[in-house]
Point group: C2
Chain length 426, copies 2
Amino acid sequence: MKILFKNADILHRGPEGYTVLKNGFLATDGALIAFIGESRPRGVFDREIDCSGKLALPGLYNCHTHAAMVALRGAGSDLPLNRWLRDVIFQREKNIRAETVLAASRLAIAEMLACGTVSFTDMYFFPEETARAVEESGVKANLTKHLQMTDEGSRARQIRESVEFFRSYHGAADGRIRVDFGVHAWYTCDFDTVSEYTALCAQSGARMHIHLSETDGEMNDCLARCGKTPVQWFRDAGAFRSPVTATHCVALTPEDIRILTENRVGVVHCPTSNMKLGSGPANVPELLRNGIKIALGTDGAASNNNLNLFEEMHLAALLHKGIFKDPTLLPTRTVLDMATVNGAAMQGREKCGALCEGYRADLVLLDMNRPHLIPNDDAAALLVYSAQGGDVCLTMADGKILFENGEYKTLDIERVMREAAAVRLF
Amino acid sequence: MKILFKNADILHRGPEGYTVLKNGFLATDGALIAFIGESRPRGVFDREIDCSGKLALPGLYNCHTHAAMVALRGAGSDLPLNRWLRDVIFQREKNIRAETVLAASRLAIAEMLACGTVSFTDMYFFPEETARAVEESGVKANLTKHLQMTDEGSRARQIRESVEFFRSYHGAADGRIRVDFGVHAWYTCDFDTVSEYTALCAQSGARMHIHLSETDGEMNDCLARCGKTPVQWFRDAGAFRSPVTATHCVALTPEDIRILTENRVGVVHCPTSNMKLGSGPANVPELLRNGIKIALGTDGAASNNNLNLFEEMHLAALLHKGIFKDPTLLPTRTVLDMATVNGAAMQGREKCGALCEGYRADLVLLDMNRPHLIPNDDAAALLVYSAQGGDVCLTMADGKILFENGEYKTLDIERVMREAAAVRLF
């Protein structure tokens, strides 16, 4: 299918930052962007979309979530972290079954598409069900069947199932599904098992997705129990031989930062979750100064409580300016990179995350004809500071329109919402 | 006019926090809420609105903004504070005229109505124009013709004009407009003039609206130049004899907090603006522990960059949990109070800010039938953590519907947006 977006303001990522091609033309051919320019390209199109008053931007990447946790949205808000986890989340997760994950994954995908997310990196139970929801919806995802120990006997089985999941699903759905190796955290896995697993990851050429140093408590526990930091633990277990997506990285020593830098570990910043759970903010300015690549994640909806990347961009841009009392930190360009090209890189997806000829046709249209987006002198600043997820009027992945003007093209949204609302985990 | 909202989930503020009356009925009679209950009230209604799948909540209060600064939305993003103020904002404000303020105030009101704000507290130039926009739109506002010295000769004139504005506009538009006395800040006014002015404020029984201790720099300058803190400066100038709305309060000494508490000064927390400008966060948990009443404000759109109270609720709820590493701080109830009843109190508006029989019919309907608001087990948590301003589908003030399903009842929105977009301040 060939689609022509005409009269669109097109967000362009250049060496000097983000600029806008005014009243431009963007044409797709199959899954790719075939043309971007100031005048109409030659050729015949299956569909032409007038984009007057709309901004075309690259689709957003949510690089850390537990999509199906939308079933636990709002559960135990405002409780202390240990009570929230122990008394609410873990209790309810005992009741999670495959059907729950399927229904909740569909709801999560619907929510993400409606606010411009084209791809997400997930870590949760029953990933085969999330894969099914990804396949049928047209969204993209990096999934994992991760290690998270519940008993001694499950170690060998977990490694075997994780590798099998990689073999079965990596590259599925025309490449929309990619599979990472995953380790929940050092404190839910044992060192020898993880060491064995990281060797298999390196052999497979896969990426590794982990939770890393989310809280001061985690850091202190690791020092007390293992005599090393969580970063050192994962390094010593061989995790950093593969490209790594490390989520949170709130509690880090200077030595940890050096290790992350040297090993080119990518960090996923989840500002809402870190603040809501009282973990505190990751020191993103310091990570950036060290050249560490940063992407954004919502984390699960239980600790957010939504999957809206516009809010993560917004919070990331505001948070560090205020905490470090420096309004020049995390300018719009940096934040947009985190939500787009850096996210694509951290999923191992090539030619994704920007609007360029030859890149994947993953794009979002934003309705700029709204009171809160006037005047429109600096579209990048409007995206980061003024826009809402609800301003998205079209989301396309791999050249297919998945969401347009409130309607879903691949999901029966009434059924998705009804089935997800019926999930009861308590 | 009598309107019946039927089958609505109605947010109720009780002694134990916010709860929801499921599938309830709410009837208005003129400007007031006449009935709230589980079954249909007697009587005939001019209009009945089916609210299945919708949540009725009290209208939101934006207790500090400079509405017409939407004309400067996004200007100078990510610059250091002094360059932003001196090179961008002050330069462009030189070009502001009455017509600019009228066009921009209309746009600001359109934006606020679309995200559930029924009343705002303003401080800006040409307040007569903002009053006109308030009058014609149906929104409510506390306005001021504030003191902000540009030259010695203007002192007497400014006081005279401010008092005249109070006499002419206080209570206008059927009481929707209230007028405060206003002082921009200690550093833009002289002590003797403010002392004279505060006496007139106390005589008039008006409220006082001030910027107070926004940054460490302001605190240090005041100590160096005046030998006292900004809080002490305003106390000594007699400002606290009147009820005061003090915005920001980022840099406070323990003695300052004692003075604010003793004088029952109300504080407006503007978390987005404080973070974006690098001022740092106000210590809201400490103010709350001292029993100080807190409301929320967006500040002007130039330092935000929007007028969306949902984002301020969201950020206020997240920020302090993260900074103090305590997820029990600022629970949903506290944050909802800040955006509603506390805001109404800080505007001197009685029987406003909650859905109760006999209160003003200022209400908002939120469409809960959206993927990011499922499951709906804790409506208060959904409002604070999951909802967007764009989920608002109806905004009513004093019993009149001003915004419904994307349409404005009192504003020609296409014209408002066109005229505001045409404003050029550079």
